[in-house]
């Protein structure tokens, strides 16, 4: 019995030491990680806007691919967060709209697309084909509606997975207007 106790005790002791060590380290790194994550999101949101500052996140329910919205102070704009369906699964997309539903800027965040194909959507300039659409001109959703369809060849699924939510977002914002 004492033998068992001793072994249990020793394992407990080692566990305790580990937990203590990790607890201390965690208390140091946790704030850093949190701050960094917040900063990254903030930077992304701000990059979507020419002027103005994004407000707090509001989660949306039952809005299809639109998962959240951010109101903007200092500019007539909304920022929407989407989850689109790409080749490799969910893709997180952030986009800013003016009150007419015209797309101002888009960025592809977390995704699991194929490097060299879908991942191209992360690159600068990829989203140019969407910017300025959604208001008077419709958001292109099929390859044939593009000026340069070859640009998305081989990654049509990624393209469609971004375009469809953007179009949805445009309609959503049009309906929403400046109704903050």
């Amino acid at each position: 019995m004492t033998d068992t106790m001793e072994k249990a005790g020793k394992l407990a002791l080692i566990c305790a030491l580990s937990a203590l060590l990790l607890g201390v380290v965690n208390s140091v790194t946790e704030p850093i990680i949190a701050i960094r994550k917040a900063a990254e999101l903030k930077a992304a949101l701000e990059n979507l806007l020419e002027t103005g500052t994004p407000g707090p996140r509001e989660d949306l329910e039952d809005e299809g691919t639109i998962k959240a919205r951010y109101s903007v102070t200092g500019a007539d704009a909304w920022i929407l967060e989407f989850i689109g369906m790409g080749y490799g699964g969910d893709m997180k997309v952030l986009a800013s709209y003016d009150f007419n539903g015209e797309i101002q800027d888009v960025v592809l965040m977390d995704n699991a697309e194929t490097p060299g194909l879908g991942k191209k959507a992360e690159a600068d300039g990829y989203m140019d084909k969407f910017i300025g659409t959604g208001g008077t001109t419709p958001v292109p959703v099929t390859k044939n509606e593009l000026e340069a369809p070859d640009e998305v060849s081989g990654a049509t699924i990624t393209f469609a997975g971004i375009a469809a939510p953007l179009k949805e977002g445009s309609a959503y914002v049009k309906a929403l207007g400046d109704d903050k």
Partner: protein
């Protein structure tokens, strides 16, 4: 404050968790104690790990178990390991093992290549000696010689055997690990083990009468007994129309006997460099 509290909770729950698991495992391990046999492990370490089966077991592991369990008292079955292994095994088992036993290597006892030996027919079939012997025991007129199709080369675990251009095979005795597989598979029995130190061999396996041997092969042993009679201490002994050489004594007479052999079938054991490089 919050942080400290969390560290505390973590500390506490991990301690509890660890304690619990520790108790459980300690009890469990007592109940489920598996005796790990150190001897087996040590033996396995000593064996070369080729799993070649020369010992007659499925692999090094099973031989180690058999030795450790005492079911096999012969500690010298691992030929591939050589003296090193023998010594180690001996010390693990606490037994004196004669590590001086000469290393044995395989040697083809036939030099009747395509030039020398008569082939009776045009063999068409599997390139494998055992399969070839189902047809008139092979295409050589001499039914004891090397067919050169290389069944032995196929089973050698270390690729020590290669075919030569003249329809025979040659063993690279440096590579040979004495496993004896080639001897087992050879359908004509022309592959035999000899001590590595052997200086000469009678390179023939024909038990035919001298006349027949002569008709079948230019370099076959005709059983004339010159070697046996003229050099009685050299170790030659003719039985079944064939001279056998025993390597117990180191008598220089062997070289002279080789020179006197009318069939020129007593040759130095070591393969000459050119002959080895002839191997294709």
């Amino acid at each position: 404050m919050d942080q400290v509290l969390r560290i505390f909770w973590g500390f506490l729950s991990t301690v509890l968790f660890g304690g619990l698991l520790g108790t459980g495992l300690a009890i469990a391990s007592r109940k489920l104690k598996v005796e790990k046999d150190e001897t087996v492990e040590a033996l396995e370490g000593a064996f070369p790990g080729l799993n070649c089966g020369a010992c007659g077991y499925a692999g090094c592991g099973s031989y180690a178990e058999a030795v450790a369990a005492g079911t096999d008292e012969d500690l010298t079955k691992c030929k591939p390991g050589g003296a090193d292994t023998l010594e180690q095994v001996g010390s693990i088992m606490g037994v004196e093992v004669d590590t001086n036993a000469a290393r044995m290597v395989a040697r083809v006892h036939c030099i009747g290549g395509s030039e020398e030996a008569v082939r009776s027919f045009n063999y068409q079939g599997i390139s494998d000696c055992t399969a070839a012997t189902v047809l008139f025991n092979g295409d050589k007129a001499c039914k004891y010689g090397c067919l050169g199709l290389g069944s032995c080369a196929g089973v050698c675990p270390v690729n020590a055997i290669s075919k030569t251009d003249n329809g025979l095979v040659v063993v690279d005795q440096d590579l040979c690990i004495s496993c004896g597989k080639c001897v087992d598979i050879c359908p004509t029995g022309v592959m035999r083990m000899i001590p590595e130190s052997a200086d000469f061999i009678v390179a023939c396996n024909s038990r035919d009468k001298g006349k027949d041997t002569k008709a079948n092969c230019k370099v076959g042993c005709i059983g004339c007994r010159i070697c046996e009679k003229k050099f009685p201490d050299a170790g030659y002994k003719v039985e079944d129309n064939l001279s056998f050489l025993s390597y117990d004594s180191k008598d220089p007479g062997r070289a002279e006997a080789a020179a006197k052999c009318p069939a020129k079938c007593i040759i130095p054991n070591k393969v000459k460099a050119e002959e080895a490089s002839n191997a294709g």
